[in-house]
Each structure stands twice: as C-alpha cells, then as structure tokens.
C-alpha cells in the first residue's frame, strides 16, 4: 500500500485534536453525581509512634461526612508488592506490611494517617487541618549505610533489620571476578550516586471511586499506566472484590514515566470509601502531596570496579550497590535494582566476568520504584562513567576504548543471563560522531576558549532491555505477575475495526501508531481503525505500558490477533470467490485469487461474516473478532550512542548544554515522528537528572525538595534543540514487527554523556577532576573546580559516609 499512513510513516496524531481543543478527558475532569471529596492527613515527620488520632473536632466541622483511619481497614489487606527477591543466603526478602492508612507508626513524611471525606473539597481541606494525630517522634533513618548498622533505628519493628535483601548476581561468578580483579593489569574504581528523582508527570494523581448498589459493582477511575494490574492487585489483595465486580478505568492520563504503574493506597481508599458511603469519592493530589506520595526513582549508591588487561581489554567488572527502597515496598520496587539492573551490567561490552551485589535498604523516605528506565539508567550510568574514567587513567581515547571492547557478534550470550539478539554498536557510534559533528569539536572548543568558556564533549553508548518480558522467565526471577500483553481485534460488519489493547497510552500515541499497523496489514485507511485502551471493562486482561513494552509486546499481540482475523477472512473470501484458501491474497483492502483477476473487497468479506447468507457455516462460525495474548520470547535490546556538548563557565560552574545528539537503534520504527518525540522527552529527563533535578532529604528525613521551587524541573530555556537519528536498524529477531521500543532510551543514555562532557571540559581546561555526583549544579561544579577536597556530594547521606569517595559534604537540593 502507498506509504501514506502505514508502518514507517508519520501521520499526525489523532489524539491531539481533543488535547488541543480542551476536550481531553483526564481523571480529574470526571465528576460523578453526588460525589464527595477526600483529603488525606499525612505525617509531617519521618518516623514516629502514632499513639492516637483525635478526630472529634474535625468530625463536627461543616460538610464532613466521615473520617477514616486505619481501624476502618481492619478487614482489608495492605498494598501488595509484586516482586519477590531472594537473597544470596537463600532467604526471601523481608516484606513489611504496607497499610492503606498508618497503623501504630508513621514511616515517612507524607505517610497517610487519616482521610476526611466531605461534601466539598474546601470543607474536606478545612477539616483535615483539624485532625490531630498524636505522634511521638522517633529517630529517623535516611542514610542507607547507617540504616544497616546493628544499632540503627528500625523502620519496621517486626523485621530483623532494615535490610530488605542482599542480592548477588551472578553468585557463581563471584570468586572468579574477585580473582580477575586481583590479577588485572589495571583496575579503575569509582564510587558514585544515582540521585533520587521524582517523576513529576504534569498531571498529578487522581482517583474517583464509585459503587453501584444495584449490581454490587465498584468502579475506580484512576491515573494509571495499567488499569488491569490495578484491578488485580487492589481487588484480590487489598479489598477482596472479585474481578467481575470491579472495573478500573484509566482515561486520558497526563504522563506517567513509571510512577503511575504502581497501586497506591489512595486508589484503594476511594474505591473502599465509595462503597461504605454509597456515593462517589474523589481524591485529587496536589503537587505538594505528589512530591511526598508518588513513588520516587533511582537513589542508588554504588562502588564499581573495572579490570583491564595490558591491552586494555575489559576482563571483569564488580559492583557494590546500596539501593533505597524507602519506607515500604512499592509494587515493583524490588525488581528495579536487581533484575532490571544487574542483567544490564555487561553493557555493550565483551567483559567476560561480571558480579553485581545489591543491598536493598528500608529508610524513612517515600517508597522508591521504577522511573523512566528503571534500573537500566543506573547500570548505564555506572558503566559509561567507569569506562570514561578508565580511559582517562590509561591515557587512551574513550571512544576507542569503547570500540575495542564492543560486542560485535550476535546473538551474544552475556555473563549476566540475558542474550542480546541483535545490534550494531559500531554503526550507532559512527552515526553519532557524524550527527554530532565530532570532527568539528576542536574548532568549537577554540571558539569557546575565546569567550572564556570551557567546552567539553562527552559520550555514552547504552544498551537496554525492553519489552518486558517472557512470563516464565520473570516468574523464576520472582515476579508475581505474567508479563504478556493482549489485544482483541473486532471487525465490524462494514469493515471498520476496533482494537482493544491491554497497552495504555499516557502520551505515547497508541491511538495513532497501533492504527497504522492494522491499516498496513489489511490495506485500509487508518481512519477505519479505532484503538480502545484504558478500561478493564472494554479491553482483555493486559499488563499495561511501561518498560518500553507497548509496541514490542502489545503491538505483537495486536498483530497476532489481526493475523487470526485475516486468516479467517481469507477462508470467507475463498468461499465467496469459490477458490482455494491457499490462493487467497490480501492487499490494499482487496482479497484476490492468485493468478486470476477475481477479487472481493475487505468490506464485502466483513459483511458476509455478519450477514452469513452465502457463508461456509459448516466450517467456520460467523463473525470476525479475534483475541491474542502474546508472551515475548526474549527482551528486546535497543542500543545507541549519545553525545553531549557543554560549555562550562569557569567563574561560576554553570553548565550549559550546547548540543546533544542521539543515534539509536530501535529496530523497525512504526512512526518516526513519535519515536523522535519519545527520545526528546527522555533526553530532557536524563539531562535534568544530570544537571538539575534532585530529591533531597535532610538527616531528620524532612523532604527538602517538595515543590517546584526546590525541585528543578527542566524548563524551555535549559535545553537545546536535539539531533536525533534512528536510521541504524537491526530489527528485533523474535517479534513479528521487528521492533524494540524507544520510550526510555533518552533517559537511559543521556546522564553519563552529560557528566562525561562536563568532566571533559574541566580536564581540557587543566582542572583535574575525575568525578562529580549528579546533579552537576553550579555549586558542585564550582566546588570541584576549586579542588576536589571541596567536592559537594549528592544529597543522599549514604554518599557522605566516610568510606565513600571524596570526603563529600552535606548536599543541597
């Protein structure tokens, strides 16, 4: 078919019209008849014993309907965790209860204690101010390493310590790795912090619970990336509502970036309260509340060692990571520092031996879970920083050192369990150097020098694992869910099509790209195809959108369902044309009989399926609707080369990103416009992490970065125009579209490129600095330039411990 809307073209997004005209329907736009408003009373201390809650005065205030506390949830479960990790000693992780409302103790600033439900939002807010929790302060623990000391205050009294798990991977390689490092010609060591992030989708979370007494059905409207997962977790583990009596709808969702994957207490609360009160209950997060109740991301402190032989070949890699879980285990938290991180530690390199140790730690902070990239940015940051540091120590070109160690033959079995199916890392590196005009760098550096600025170029070459995941594999690794995806392709009598997908768009543009695929397969206009998502009552059980999995897993399910539809339609067409089924071809919306001029249109066949007068009823059923569940055979492995060019003001330490280029291999691309947009957004978040964004706590567990005044979101003036390319294509070998996924790459590949660029600028300027922790704020860069001794470290206290690098001092947000 002509390429005016099929695979590989960039039609405009159909969803844009409603977003641009103000007719989008986000959860907060939903107002149900008779709805009441919920406001949460939250802890303002990091750790304390909850001796009681005085609700008397609040209960008498105007408009108050009811005040809920933990006692109301006695018959309910806690917020469940969806992944169980097993420690090196064979014990399963420590898994504390995560109550809907605090029971006996509060464990982080923002921990919900009580909820006021009132007639109006203002009345609920006023009454919430009058709820008086009696909290006896306890010493808070924020520093991960201190949290593991024998006498540390315990976040959960019932656990043996603050250690959630101690995971080793690959445990059998441990001794061989130790030996290789001991015997190496050169070992480069680096201690670094992957700073805590807050995802900050622009739409705050919202939940609206509704209950229909006549049918005993509960409905939850929520800002979620995966409504079926919420239905399963909340129905089965928290509220004991069977699936057929529970509907979860995630309508238009204003960005997610991971933080809207998880099941949150507020969702369970609104669903529960609506049934109790027999009226709809709505909760809308304020931004201030979002900072202390949305799951945070990253927050790893790592020591990494890279061993090289005398020819600079990588011989072994060893890492030792402390990963912050926060006060409770969020839905997928345990998987992030382990299986989503350790399995990526080979990177693009032939390193034969890898050992990763991760200690996950409970602290009195907001729970930490997946944020755009989830584990893979942490792996990439370590690798791409240590390779640069090794190059500097050895006096070799960092690009050449990478190339020398690149994996070049595929499939490639890494020493960390995963097998890469395809890739061409030299190609993406070549493309990057071309689009970044690396050859012209020296001339630009000279121009900067004349202006009194230090210019640097930093590179990073990432690999990620997307399209999570083969269900039997993740089951062995501790997942308590399958990770397939589903689709129903419903062909209507006149030939138009509704696709019901378990994937969910919260900005990715499924309604456009998924329709492109169907249009191409059948040869009809994309306008004839409607994509339905985000409602458990309308879509088959699916696992939702995260981990860059939509097109690779959800798209594959849709292709499989469409293939079934086409096969059946061919049978009908064969009957109509009195031909043999094997001779039927479908092209441009016409069925033809090979070698003849007989044809029948798509619409005639679909009509025959629903008006089966002339129809092979003895062989096939009427109708044309098929469902497929697709369980991937492997992860997909996008990769790419990223280059950042910065100018550093040598007087102030201010870093300006003056150029950023990204050359990605995403396999086949459905809609280049959307893919480029995904990369742009990822780059902004990765550059944000590297230079500005930081979630900071003080030693008492107070959240310092709790609003947009203290948490620096990248703004329009902070970023350059990007150069992005996806012309290097090694198609995925194991899914029907040959696609890999593009949603997270930008956030994964960019932070080390930025940091490497700043260090390159300083070192070229004669200032020998070998590491600065993110975010590279002017204060930190300036301090580093004044001598490494003054290096302001990250805000995470664990990075300030005596045994970590550089004698860092207390951080600033």
């Amino acid at each position: 078919m002509p390429k005016d809307g099929g695979i590989g073209t960039s039609p405009k997004r159909r969803e844009d019209v409603r977003f641009l005209s103000g007719t989008g329907r986000y959860t907060d736009d939903i107002n149900l008849h008779g709805q009441a408003y919920a406001v949460f009373v939250r802890s303002d201390v990091a750790h304390g014993r909850l001796n009681g809650i005085d609700t008397e005065a609040a209960a008498d205030m105007p408009g108050v309907i009811r005040i809920f506390t933990a006692r109301d949830f006695e018959g309910c479960g806690g917020v469940p965790c969806g992944w169980q990790i097993t420690s090196r000693d064979g014990n399963v992780m420590q898994e504390p209860k995560h109550p809907i409302l605090a029971e006996g103790k509060v464990r982080h600033v923002g921990d919900p204690i009580a909820v006021v439900v009132a007639e109006t939002l203002a009345q609920a807010r006023d009454a919430a101010e009058a709820v008086m929790p009696d909290i006896e302060d306890l010493p808070a623990i924020v520093d991960m390493k201190a949290a593991l000391a024998d006498d540390a205050p315990k976040v959960h009294d019932e656990l043996s310590s603050n250690l959630c798990y101690d995971w080793g991977f690959v445990e059998e390689n441990r001794e061989a790795v130790d030996r290789a490092i001991k015997e190496a010609a050169h070992v480069t060591t680096l201690e670094l912090v992957n700073n805590r992030m807050i995802a900050n989708p622009m739409e705050p979370r919202v939940a609206v619970g509704d209950y229909a007494a006549h049918s005993d059905e509960s409905t939850l409207y929520t800002t979620s990336q995966n409504p079926h997962v919420i239905r399963l977790l909340m129905g089965a583990f928290v509220l004991n509502i069977p699936e057929h009596k529970l509907r979860v709808v995630a309508p238009d969702v204003g960005g997610g970036f991971g933080t809207k994957i998880f099941h949150y207490a507020e969702e369970a609360f609104c669903t529960f309260a609506a049934k109790q009160l027999r009226r709809p209950v709505k909760w809308t997060s304020t931004r201030s509340e979002a900072f202390m109740s949305d799951a945070h991301g990253r927050d790893h402190v790592t020591k990494i060692e890279l061993a090289l032989d005398e020819d600079n070949n990588f011989t072994a890699l060893r890492t030792d990571t402390h990963a912050n879980m926060g006060a409770y285990l969020s839905t997928f938290a345990p998987s992030v520092p382990t299986w989503l991180h350790g399995t990526l530690m080979a990177g693009n390199y032939k390193t034969p031996l890898v050992y990763v140790n991760v200690k996950a730690v409970f602290t009195n902070t907001v729970p930490v879970d997946a944020y755009r990239g989830a584990g893979r940015p942490e792996a990439t940051y370590q690798l791409e920083r240590i390779v640069d540091k090794a190059a500097r120590e050895l006096g070799v070109d960092p690009i050449a050192l990478r190339r020398q160690n690149f994996i070049t033959e595929f499939p490639y079995q890494t020493p960390v369990a995963v097998q890469y199916d395809t890739g061409d890392y030299h190609a993406t590196m070549d493309k990057l150097l071309d689009i970044a005009d690396h050859a012209g760098f020296e001339a630009r550096a000279e121009e900067s020098r004349k202006k009194g600025k230090l210019r640097g170029f930093g590179i990073s070459h990432y690999i990620e694992a997307c399209g999570i995941a083969p269900s039997n594999l993740v089951g062995q690794l501790g997942a308590r869910a399958g990770l397939y995806e589903s689709a129903t392709v419903r062909v209507n009598a006149t030939g138009s099509i509704s696709v019901m997908t378990g994937s969910h768009s919260h900005g990715q543009g499924h309604e456009t790209t998924f329709a492109q695929v169907i249009a191409e397969m059948i040869g009809i206009d994309a306008d004839q195809v409607d994509i339905v998502h985000g409602d458990t009552a309308r879509t088959p059980m699916g696992m939702g959108t995260y981990g860059s999995r939509s097109i690779a897993v959800g798209g594959s399910a849709m292709v499989r369902a469409a293939e079934k539809v086409i096969n059946k339609a061919k049978k009908i067409a064969a009957h109509l044309m009195e031909a043999s089924e094997g001779d039927i071809e479908l092209k441009d919306g016409q069925f033809t009989v090979a070698g003849t001029d007989k044809s029948v249109a798509w619409g005639d066949v679909t009509l025959a399926a629903y008006v089966p007068h002339n129809y092979p009823l003895e062989e096939i059923e009427p109708g044309l609707e098929e469902t497929a569940f697709y369980d991937p055979a492997n992860f997909t492995y996008p990769s790419g080369g990223y280059g950042c060019e910065v100018e550093v003001d040598s007087e102030t330490g201010l870093v300006e990103v003056v150029g950023f280029a990204a050359a990605d291999d995403f396999g086949n691309v459905i809609n280049p416009m959307i893919v480029e947009g995904q990369v742009h957004g990822g780059l902004a978040q990765g550059i944000g992490q590297a230079l500005w964004e930081n979630c900071a706590y003080d030693a008492d567990g107070q959240l310092l970065s709790a609003s947009y005044m203290d948490y620096a979101m990248p703004r329009s003036t902070d970023l350059p125009m990007f150069k992005v390319d996806h012309s290097c294509v090694t198609p995925c070998t194991h899914n029907p579209l040959g696609v890999k996924g593009c949603g997270e790459a930008g956030a994964i590949g960019s932070p080390p490129a930025v940091v490497n660029a700043v260090l390159d600028a300083l070192n070229r300027g004669g200032i020998a600095v070998d590491h600065i922790d993110m975010p590279l704020s002017p204060a930190r860069v300036w301090a580093a330039m004044q001598g490494a001794g003054a290096n302001l470290g990250a805000a995470q206290p664990a990075a300030r411990s005596e045994d970590t690098a550089g004698g860092r001092s207390v951080g600033t947000p």
């Binding site: 960039s10 844009d16 989008g24 907060d28 989708p201 947009g677």
Partner: protein, 161 residues
Amino acid sequence: MIKIEMTVNGRPVSGEVEGRTLLVDFIRQTLLLTGTHVGCDTTQCGACTIHLDGEPVKSCSVLAAECAGARITTIEGMANADGSLSSMQQAFQDYHGLQCGFCTPGMVMAATALLEENPTPSEAEIRHHLEGNICRCTGYHNIVKAVQAASGQDVTPVAAE
C-alpha cells in the same frame, strides 16, 4: 458567597464563589471548562494559563472574585469560528508539540499570546517566553518548532531532521 459575572470565550457567565475560590477552580468546577489544567500548587507550571483581558495569566494565581467583569479566553475558545483548530493549535499537531497533552492548553495559550506581542520570535525568544510553562513529555524541542511554524517561519518538517 460572592456573585460574579464575566465573559468567557465570548459568552456571558455568572456564578457564586467563595472569597478564596481561585479562578482556575471557577473555570473547571463551576463552568465545567476542564481544558484548563492544574499541575501545581505554587504557580510554577503554567498548565492553568488562560487569557485574562487579553493577557496570558496563570489562572491559579488569581481569585475568581477579582475577575468580575473580566474577559476571559480558555483553550475551549481558541478554535476558529468554523470549529477548526487555530493556527497555533494546528502547528502543535503538525509538529508533534504534545504527547500526554496535559501541559498543552497552557502552552497554546502562552504561545498564542507571544505571537500577538512578537509575530516572528527567535528560538531564544520562544524559549524565554515559555519558561513558566513546564512540559515533562516533549523536551520542548517540538514545542519550539510548533511556535516557529505558527509564526510562519521555516521549520524542518517532522521526522526529517
């Protein structure tokens, strides 16, 4: 309660508000114009940007009662008379200047106001003008292009850079 009247998207409207009611809440909850969004509680994200007597204003930063008698335009009032998208709205679609769409109404309102003041802004001027509007999805690249295109400047088509 205070009774107020104003003109919104060319139509006279009225309602009762408390003294503390923000303009954005009046727009969303009383007038049910939900295209104007709330992204923060510290007047820093710009998702709530509307035009107040022709000027771009964050509607979470003014009280509804202060706006009695004012002329207000929201995203719902931006389309052309025939219902087609305005040139700015159209440019956002053409250049993929939105993803989740949550910041978009505020962006369109702010960008439209810019062109009224400065019909052919440079990239730096566009970025400077939109500094008060946070977008978490796009990295601003395509928003800048959309505004350049809406102002009639030459822009590389999407997916051809």
